[in-house]
Amino acid sequence: MTLTPGFADPVPDAQSCFRALLEAMARPGRVQRIKALPEAPVPLAPAAAAALLTLADAETPVWTDGGPAAEAWLRFHAGCPLVAGPGDAAFLLAVGGMPALASLEAGTEEEPHRSATLILQVAALEQGEGWHLSGPGIEHVHRLRVEGLPPGFLAEWSANAARFPRGADLLLCAGTRLAALPRTTRIEEAG
């Protein structure tokens, strides 16, 4: 197993990725393109890998189903501890199935920010079509089409919203693109 590099220029690259993540969280459903991408091992999508490198460090437990190469790469570049249980993680990177949202750390009523952020790799992301999104950060309505979510996703999402202010946040990544669904975003199916 050979290690590949992380960000080419760690400080500016992580800063620009962080800026994109802020934009994504502030404008739910708007698709951001990550410009500075690390050489992430298969099966990590570049945007997902960049997000995790930006957010995770030695003090954030990470869960991933990305396999040994991804684990070694994350441990090396992010310095993050890897945990076996999805409920123990501050950040999760799911490339296969989505861990149940209800199983993730949701924070407490006093400290809802101590919740988990799930970075989920999906098949495709397209804005301007698909779902109707509303909530904080959306003036009227944003539209987002996501391919590759599990069948019961919308039910899980509304259960997650019902826990507010507790709850998990979601980052959807496809290739070099990502979009955020913070716990406050309401989703209505297109129709």
């Binding site: 460090d57 030695a58 003090e59 070694a72 441990r75 090396f76 310095g79 501890p81």
Partner: protein, 356 residues
Amino acid sequence: MAYVAVKGGERAIEAAHAWLAEERRGDPALPELTLAQIEAQLGLAVDRVMAEGACHDRGLAALAIKQARGDLIEAAFLLRAYRTTLPRFGASNPIETDAMRIRRRISATYKELPGGQVLGPTFDYTHRLLDFALAAEGGTVPPAPERRTDAVPMPRVTGLLAQEGLMAPEPPSEAEPPDLTREPLGFPADRPLRLQALARGDEGFLLSLGYSTQRGYGNAHPFVGEIRMGAVTVEFEPPELGFPIELGEITVTECQMVNQFAGSRTEPPQFTRGYGLVFGHGERKAMAMALVDRALRAEELGEPVEAPAQNQEFVLYHCDNVEATGFVEHLKLPHYVDFQSELEKIRLLRREAEGE
């Protein structure tokens, strides 16, 4: 008390900082201090700034001292501020002070102890007479005497007492310690948290508190079981390697204060420890820390908590000189609005008093 944001001082501030820079440099006819000179010749100032800045880096501490014009609390503040810009790679394995490369090691409890009393580079036994030879520059210092001997083991004095069963053992633990730099101080604070706060606490504050315990405010009967100063190896286990590696050596000072303990229903009469450990050569600080650590153990040892040095909240909330500086110096910020209301009230009271 509230303070208000005001605008309009920019040019004055710039001019003030320019003057500060000029004052810092001093007479340009004199050579400028180099960081290497500060590191080498003001080494104990560097050590203190590293200890109270809670960041071991001699070069950065020297820079902070230069920038702060020798104000060591300001320098510790600068170092604390700088460390927040650096990522945390992790935590070291606990340093092994019994494996220290000893430069100084003394005990006040045993005259003849294995390894002996090693004075090291100490101010003790100097006569505290100003040495005017130092005022004349360019003097050469003869090398200190050397004595080549076989390495002698220097076991900890507390270990000697423990062998006899007379020293309360430290319960073995590998528990992940709490970290003040990550979680705000909460009470009751357990001993690892207290020791972290004391290790970065203000030397003057801890010295006075330690002194107070000797003078009757805290019922202490301490003996210096041992003071040792020297180099210890810092080991760290990078997650990608999975085994510990050596990062290098740092100098630390350790003090084991031995205190009598009358015993309780569950514990026999025995000695207990107060512990001090600081970055660099900081003997006074390590001793003061050990006295205060022991005083703060009063509650766990079932002793009455009466004196300031035994009061966790009092000691831990006030021992940090960077925090204390922030709160005291914030009084300089504009309080124009709330002072106006105070003025109004005093004037009103005056009028009422005159009217009566």
